[in-house]
């Protein structure tokens, strides 16, 4: 189950700025493009404000963002709530010692990495990405944080595709989204 902010007046503006691009990256996929949201300073600010209002004062010490679109939303949230930003990256991008988590794709598998020492045991963390689909990437992200001993408080995304039931793959942790899409 996910929590969604349908009742807030800022949501309409945010939803209207998201552009759907058919058949990208392959036929049959209706791609939810957030770059048009980023072109509207008020809508982008409202997006960040909605997350910050939810998480400020909740003792969150780490905001993990998934490469690359999670890098757009994660840092402004982290800075506003006084938390560290932790980039979760594709393989071989982070130098030094890393935790590595593999996860399944529709065809094949992919991999997410986090620095060893990025979070300490007992830290309270969020995972941020632009969108949750099947939940596979978010689940891998949560595993990385938990392997380092952090507590994942919540996953936060701008968009959810509810039909794909990604919220069921979050190991019982809550999901917070601003917009639901078909």
């Amino acid at each position: 189950m996910s929590a969604c902010k349908e009742d807030d007046p800022r949501i309409d503006g945010i939803q209207s700025r998201i552009r759907v691009v058919p058949n990208f990256p392959k036929p049959g996929i209706m791609f939810q493009d957030i770059t048009t949201l980023l072109l509207d300073p008020k809508a982008f600010k409202d997006t960040i404000d909605l997350f910050v209002e939810r998480y400020k004062g909740k003792n969150i010490t780490a905001v993990a963002g998934i490469e690359a679109r999670g890098f757009i939303f994660g840092p402004p949230i982290a800075l506003a709530i006084g938390a560290k930003f932790v980039p979760l990256r594709k393989p071989k991008k982070l130098p030094g010692k890393v935790f590595r988590e593999e996860y399944d794709l529709e065809y094949g598998s992919d991999c997410l990495e986090m620095h060893v020492g990025a979070v300490e045991s007992g830290e309270r963390a969020l995972v941020v990405d632009d969108l949750i689909a099947t939940g596979g990437t978010l689940c891998a992200a949560m595993n990385l944080l938990e392997r380092a001993g952090a507590e994942v408080v919540e996953c936060a995304c701008v968009i959810e595709i509810p039909d794909l039931k990604g919220s069921d793959r979050l190991k019982g942790k809550p999901l917070f989204v601003l917009v639901e899409s078909q």
Binding site: T35, P41, F44, F71, L79, K84, G96, A118
Partner: protein, 186 residues
């Protein structure tokens, strides 16, 4: 030009920012002293100071576009854009941006790569910044500048947290001003 030569000489925030960067020798290959900014973004004070310095510099310059280079530029540019009321434009590796894009090639040490930008994201005459974590040869920033200029934007400045020795002593890159906060750590 470096921040210390341009109004911020002795600013204690610059030392804090420099100290928060980790040097990783021989990454991604032997001989490279990699400047790792993940320890900077993991340090709330250093990260905030970094953003504040850029925001203070650009807030009154009538900038309406802040372009960030994938992926580490994405960690800095959006917050700067939000603080100065500008739009954020991601400049991405090929095939990542959906819809219509323009593309610009640039040289790597071995081979070439390409940077893409959405058509219609930027209007003619808009004043733009380009942000990345680090500038080495300037190839990527030059490609970014060309993309923006092709659609008629005016690139006011390119800005990076770290400036490598190849650009030391230079105030301009491809005809555009270049602003950097710190030199690489040894």
């Amino acid at each position: 030009m470096f921040a210390a030569e341009n109004g911020l000489k002795g600013d204690p925030r610059l030392k804090g920012i420099s100290d928060s960067i980790t040097v990783v020798p021989h990454f991604p290959k032997p001989g490279i002293m990699f400047q790792d900014i993940t320890t900077l973004v993991s340090n709330p004070k250093a990260f905030k100071d970094t953003i504040d310095i850029f925001v203070d510099r650009y807030r009154d310059m009538d900038i309406s576009v802040v372009a960030g280079v994938e992926a580490r530029g994405f960690m800095f540019a959006p917050t700067i854009a939000l603080a100065i009321g500008a739009k954020f434009i991601p400049l991405r590796k090929p095939g990542k941006l959906p819809g219509e894009v323009i593309s610009e090639a640039y040289e790597l040490e071995y081979g070439k790569d390409r940077l893409e930008m959405h058509v219609g994201a930027v209007q003619r005459g808009e004043r733009a910044l380009v942000i990345d974590d680090l500038v080495a040869t300037g190839g990527t920033l030059s490609a970014a500048t060309r993309l923006l200029e092709r659609v008629g934007a005016e690139v006011v400045e390119c800005a990076c947290v770290i400036g490598l020795p190849e650009v030391k002593g230079r105030c301009r890159l491809g005809g555009k001003p270049l602003y950097m906060l710190v030199e690489p750590r040894q």
